[in-house]
């Protein structure tokens, strides 16, 4: 089992990569990495093709088409649509189509990474990586995550119950037969769950500092943060002082969060120990992140941020960069826990 913080780091690095990289070769490289990891971690039982692949097949050509039809830049004109066509009239260029396809690929990478993260990290693990001060919010998030699929199932049940009464959705007003029972059912379920949680001791008060103190401390921290930032921005002669105030604000906020968390003791049932795979994946993501944020001195940064405009040229591919980005593939080799099934 991989530590959820490592998965978070991996998903974040993939997000940064998909947002930053537009070199077609690297982005294809990243897309393959994302799909391989998704196949390894996020396929449901009996599923053979990853979800993001299915979406990608639709999304990539659509993004290409949309960009091609709406952007007029580029020298390689494929065809010209009549100018009287609103929004679409004008030249359709190869460059615009390619850039749209690249954006579609980037979106598919993001989708794939989050599908993998979501499937490989159970809701409870996500709750456990939330700082103690935000524990309640984490529990709410966890409940919301389990509530949503239940709600979808309820919508289906209500639709069926209304269909057998001859109900058809023809206009906005017809949705009332769905939304009203859904609302009532959701409220009743929420009350039942709240009751069950209270009966198990959830929400028991812990001795802690005064809420007023917490509010003052947070307000002070935010004021210092904002003040320091404004000083640095508008009073150049006191930039260092501004930095000091800004850091003081950050410290105050972090201190308050720590203090609130400390006053709400929670313990964890599962104590995860750091494994070799956690280290390897963390290292792989670190290398990839380093390449993305601060590429090797001998690599032209523009190679990552390739642009097809004004004329499409063959992009560079630096093997070291490709190798570095392969760090994101390491989760595909890690042992998959039976809990994922």
């Amino acid at each position: 089992m991989i530590d959820p913080r490592i998965w978070l780091f991996w998903a974040f690095t993939m997000l940064v990569a998909a947002s930053e990289v537009r070199n077609p070769l690297y982005i294809l490289w990243l897309l393959l990495v994302a799909w391989i990891v998704e196949i390894r971690w996020a396929l449901h039982r009996g599923q053979k093709i990853p979800w993001s692949f299915r979406w990608g097949v639709l999304l990539i050509p659509l993004a290409g088409l949309f960009n091609g039809m709406s952007v007029r830049i580029g020298e390689t004109v494929l065809l010209r649509l009549p100018s009287w066509l609103p929004l679409m009239g004008g030249p359709i260029t190869l460059e615009a189509l390619v850039y749209g396809v690249l954006n579609g690929m980037a979106l598919t990478i993001i989708l794939s990474a989050f599908l993998t993260f979501n499937r490989a990290t159970p809701a409870r693990d996500m709750v456990r990586i939330v700082p103690k001060a935000f524990y309640e919010a984490g529990v709410i998030l966890s409940i919301a995550l389990t509530f949503f699929p239940l709600m979808l199932r309820t919508v289906q049940d209500i639709r069926e119950a209304q269909m057998v009464r001859g109900h058809r959705i023809r206009g906005l007003r017809d949705w009332l037969a769905i939304w009203l029972p859904l609302l009532m059912n959701g409220l009743e379920r929420a009350v039942r769950l709240a009751e069950a949680m209270v009966a198990r001791g959830y929400g028991a008060p812990f001795p802690s500092g005064s809420p007023m103190g917490v509010q003052f401390s947070l307000a002070g921290g935010l004021t210092a943060l904002l003040g320091g930032w404004l000083v640095r921005l508008f009073v150049p002669q006191h930039r260092d002082a501004g930095l000091g105030v800004l850091l003081l604000g950050v410290g105050l906020i972090l201190g308050t969060v720590w203090w609130v968390g400390h006053a709400h003791p929670r313990t964890g049932y599962r104590n995860r120990s750091w494994t070799l795979w956690d280290g390897l994946i963390g290292l792989g993501c670190g290398v990839a992140a380093w390449i993305l944020i601060d590429p090797f001195s001998w690599v032209d940064p523009q190679a990552l941020y390739y642009s097809p405009y004004p004329r499409l040229l063959l992009p560079d591919f630096h093997p070291w960069v490709g190798l570095g980005l392969l760090g994101l593939l390491i989760p595909a080799f890690a042992k998959r826990s039976s809990e994922i099934d």
Binding site: G46, A177, V198, G201, N271
Partner: protein, 540 residues
């Protein structure tokens, strides 16, 4: 020990109290069954024990409650959560986490219990409830009985001295319910846990309990009774068939278990086996519904495998089988909510496979498991008119809605808001909403869920009335006693296949679905207390 003195409680906005001057004493280690009709205050009483009432609900409470020396009203549910474990009716609606182990540990993590001790507690309760092999399973993949055992384990994580359960077996098939009850018996006998259990199906629980507390209905039909079951049962009108037979035949002491009952039954004069006359000879009539070789799979998991079935006008067929046997799937395929991958369905000789549900449901009424999903109108009457309007029948209703409300016993509630009604009334409103088109075939999915004996008898009477008019009924249920009362034919599904399609007497030989009377008087063909009382003159 639990001591309640002169407890009266009224929900906010309610004109009448839910509990009136209730006094009760439960000794440590007792297994107590709380019984009574719907709306008698069983759930309210149980919620008073851990402070959910009034802390969670509001309202006004007077009287005194003491639970192991604690006052739930003063100390609240957070303190009482360490002393009273609480299990609710629907296990899935009380889960916070997604895995067995994590669900059990949730309360302990909240209480900041040291991890070492937490692991000991989790292992302990998993062992006690036979959950160790399921520890890493996702809760949604568990059966109803397994889910309920997880809910009990989660409630026991704090090692409470009292376990309170509100109708924990109402959603379960007979085998799963038996598994849960056996677990409770073990907890009571081996751990000495005090258990208070509210339940409608007394036949499931009576053999195990030390004390029966009977709460009268909201209109105070009878006073409250508390004591050993043998002392209380003679004062209750509607009882399980074994008790009904025992009381009618004046068996003393009143048998609580089938074993005790058989000893009395063996002394009764032997009568030749009877053949239950079918009110409708199905094979002679042209079938109203014919199903041939029906197949349906959910994502390659077969749910129906070659189902054949015919239903004649006026026939009542009971569909039985364990959870997941394919009962609901079959009903949904008939009304077109699911499209079968293979096979054909004919209604009155016309093929209906592939037709939209809206069209099929003009002639077939389908009541889903959760009737609440149907109700959204402002009044009961409006619910009926909504269905008529949906089908374009508002100008010529096949049955006048006012008359239908009378048949349903809802004539006094035409202007009431449906969701304010009791469970039984809401179910009848939903039944009205599908029957207002006067369908010749009714499909009912678990219609007795959450109904007490009184309401079940009302439903039996209603279905018999419609049967007289030639309405056929296909109903799926786990309730074997109800099935025995109503069925002309019984169909048992297993793994999506029809394994039994026969007269109801076939239930007598089924180890899983035999009603109490069939077990009491084997080889007689009797299934209900009515059969026994018809055979023996009262007081033999």
């Amino acid at each position: 020990m639990i001591e309640i003195e002169h407890l009266t409680y009224t929900y906010p906005g309610s004109p009448a109290p839910a509990l009136v001057d209730l006094s009760l004493r439960v000794n440590t280690g007792e297994f107590v069954l709380i019984a009574g009709p719907s709306g008698a205050g069983k759930s309210t009483l149980l919620r008073c024990l851990n402070g959910l009432v009034p802390h969670f609900t509001g309202g006004t409470l007077s009287g005194k409650i003491s639970v192991e020396g604690h006052d739930p009203v003063r100390e609240g549910p957070h303190v009482l959560s360490r002393i009273v474990g609480f299990v609710f009716q629907e296990p899935h609606s009380q889960f916070v986490m997604d895995r067995v182990e994590d669900e059990i540990a949730f309360a302990l993590e909240n209480a900041a219990m040291p991890p070492g001790e937490m692991r000991v507690r989790v292992e302990e309760v998993m062992h006690l409830l036979d959950l160790t092999p399921l520890r890493s399973r996702k809760l949604e993949t568990l059966s109803g009985g397994e889910q309920q055992r997880v809910a009990i384990a989660a409630a026991l994580a704090f090692r409470p001295r009292i376990l309170v359960l509100d109708e924990p077996t109402s959603q379960l098939d007979p085998q799963s319910a038996e598994d849960v009850l056996q677990a409770l018996v073990r907890l009571n006998q081996e751990w000495g846990l005090t258990i208070l259990l509210a339940e409608h199906r007394l036949e499931r629980v009576l053999p195990y309990v030390d004390r029966l507390v009977y709460l009268p209905g909201p209109n105070g039909r009878a006073p409250m009774f508390s004591g050993p079951p043998r002392e209380v049962l003679p004062h209750i009108d509607l009882t399980p068939p074994l008790i009904t037979v025992g009381k009618a035949l004046r068996w003393e002491p009143l048998p609580l278990t089938l074993k005790e009952g058989r000893a009395f039954a063996a002394r009764m004069p032997a009568l030749p086996p009877v053949q239950r006359a079918l009110s409708v000879p199905p094979r002679e009539n042209a079938p109203l519904l014919r199903i041939q070789d029906l197949h349906f799979s959910y994502d390659h998991h077969p749910a129906l495998c070659g189902v054949h079935l015919t239903i004649s006008p006026g026939e009542t067929i009971v569909l039985m089988g364990r959870n997941g046997a394919g009962k609901t799937t079959l009903l949904k395929c008939i009304v077109g909510l699911l499209r079968p991958q293979r096979g054909q369905i004919w209604l009155n000789g016309e093929p209906i496979t592939g037709q939209p549900p809206e069209k099929i449901c003009q002639r077939v009424g389908y009541l889903p498991q959760e009737p609440d999903m149907m109700l959204f109108a402002d009044t009961v009457m409006e619910e009926l008119w909504t269905t008529l309007r949906n089908h374009g029948l508002q100008h010529a209703p096949p049955v006048p809605p006012c008359d239908l409300l009378v048949t349903l016993g809802l004539e006094g509630y035409a202007d009431a808001y449906p969701r304010d009604l009791s469970a039984g009334q809401r179910q009848r409103v939903a039944l009205g909403a599908i029957a207002v088109t006067r369908p010749r075939l009714l499909l009912l999915d678990e219609p007795t869920r959450g109904l007490d004996y009184w309401l079940k008898q009302q439903l039996v009477r209603l279905l018999r009335t419609w049967k007289q008019d030639g309405t056929a009924v296909l109903l799926a249920t786990h309730d074997v006693e109800f099935a025995a009362q109503i069925a002309d034919r019984v169909v048992i599904l297993s793994n999506g296949q029809v394994v039994v399609d026969d007269q109801p007497t076939v239930l007598a030989a089924s180890p899983l679905f035999a009603p109490q009377v069939a077990r009491l008087f084997p080889d007689t063909g009797w299934l209900t207390a009515e059969d026994v009382m018809n055979a023996y003159p009262i007081g033999v």
